[in-house]
Symmetry: C2
Subunit: 305 residues, 2 copies
């Protein structure tokens, strides 16, 4: 990682970590009643606990990097957009970790929401984070209603049954099944890819990218969305529990299909490299301001956790 | 129930029941892969199962009745708005019925989603319905981006931690606790009231109500939102399991606070009547086209299931 990119990433993380608590906290204080207000405060705390879980903020960074590539990195509203996408991501992790789903007690070395709080709270935290994400986008600064509406169209499609939730449904059904490569790619394009891709699309829409830029950035987004999951599968095999903060080989234990299982570890690594090359290729029309986007693609396939 | 109102209600139910399946179905058919496509189809089916559960469609009817009161009952988009609100309502029931929440096996005499399918599917169905509701609003017909954005602001606020989900959080914490009347009212204003109120507000916004009409309709909405819950509590005590389609006295069994517990059954019935009078009072500025709104208020406090 170059010093410039390390700085960029730290800066993005700092921006979104700062924005999230103020977007989620301070609920319940409007009620004089102690019972009502303490329950709402607890919901707010559990929501903040779940979004501030030491994540790498790849999706938030993609929003900022896209804005920078388009010359608009100081545009108002980027923190809100980045936060809303991280809320959707966090909600999906909270629900995914539930006993009825992947049943994970640890997430990045910390107790998952239903362990730190309880299962009912974790269900509600996920539900609250999703609603709040759309509210944050709907109340973005500025008067461009068309652009805000476009963002909501993009985010709701990416998060819904034809996007992330659909991918989860395929993933659930895939336990103990032999998926072929096409099915595996479809599952990941929806489960992980859709939200990564939409982070770029939303950044691009908010920064008024033209049609050609939108198409190029979407090719980039599609490539890194998939390489992200390929690398996740590789990490799951190669890392140990301590580095990963979750039970190592969890997907293998659940007999879930993975890219290394289908392609071998070397085949999976080659695929990750090919997708990185594809991502860089998509950005050839952009100048040096797209450096963070290029670095993010490399970061995604080089990370070890 | 007058014949006119019975017709109105049947017509509303028919409209929304017809709109919902086409808004939720037909996912997965775009994938040639059999595994991916069957998982997505199952998610779609489970979503349709959960929204087409014989509900009374009070929220949908309020959208139509508000439009009629404003002289715009044939405006394009009302079916989508009504459906989106019913999706949010249905998702909240699916999650509320989960074992970690109220643990209900029956809903209106039919197996709840996690019984008919499984728990993981029920979690995903709720998540998918919420995302889809916002997508439906974001893609309403017509070019009025400002109005669509206003609807999304209203719906996300009503569904989120300061609305419905917040009410659920207070409700959960209230098991085995003695809430006073103020806390009980806050809980219900959020848990049930917010979505009922927003159904009216969204209908009014979409039909371009003026400020005075919006304020009057919101007073109406606030009154019936609360009377709805008071009557639910009364029904819970007076009905038997067969009529209700769920275990009778479930809330009492869970030691949840109820209006009859706090006010006595006669006191609760008086409160319902007072709220009905308040609702009618709020509508004095409207002509005979508001008859369905008036009838709905009466229907809410007169229903026995």
């Amino acid at each position: 990682m170059t010093p410039d990119f390390a700085n960029f990433l730290a800066h993005c993380q700092q921006r979104v970590q700062q924005a999230l608590p103020s977007l989620l906290g301070n609920i319940g204080s409007e009620y004089a009643d102690a019972d009502a207000s303490s329950s709402l405060q607890r919901l707010g705390e559990a929501s903040i606990y779940s979004v501030l879980n030491g994540g790498k903020r790849v999706r938030a960074s993609l929003v900022y990097a896209t804005a920078q590539a388009l010359g608009h990195d100081s545009r108002a509203g980027l923190d809100d957009i980045a936060s809303a996408i991280e809320m959707i991501h966090a909600y999906s992790l909270v629900h995914d970790d539930l006993p009825a789903m992947d049943d994970d007690d640890l997430r990045r070395g910390k107790p998952t929401c239903h362990i730190a709080y309880d299962e009912a709270t974790a269900i509600l935290v996920g539900d609250a984070l999703q609603a709040r994400a759309f509210e944050v986008i709907a109340t973005l600064p500025g008067t461009n209603a068309e652009a805000k509406l476009a963002l909501i169209q993009q985010l709701s499609a990416a998060a819904g049954p034809r996007g992330m939730v659909g991918g989860q449904a395929i993933d659930l059904a895939a336990v103990n099944q032999q998926l072929d490569l096409a099915a595996l790619q479809t599952m990941h394009q929806l489960k992980t890819g859709a939200l990564i891709r939409v982070a770029i699309a939303m950044g691009a829409t908010w920064c008024e990218a033209d049609q050609q830029q939108l198409a190029a950035l979407d090719r980039y987004g599609k490539a890194i969305g998939l390489s992200f999951q390929v690398q996740d599968d590789i990490i799951d095999i190669e890392s140990n529990t301590e580095t990963l903060g979750k039970t190592q080989g969890a997907d293998q234990a659940l007999n879930k299909p993975t890219f290394p299982a289908l392609l071998g570890i070397d085949g999976a690594k080659q695929l990750a490299q090919d997708l990185h090359a594809e991502a860089l290729q998509a950005l050839t029309g952009f100048d040096e301001r797209a450096a963070p986007l290029r670095d993010l693609s490399h970061y995604i396939i080089a990370r070890q956790h």
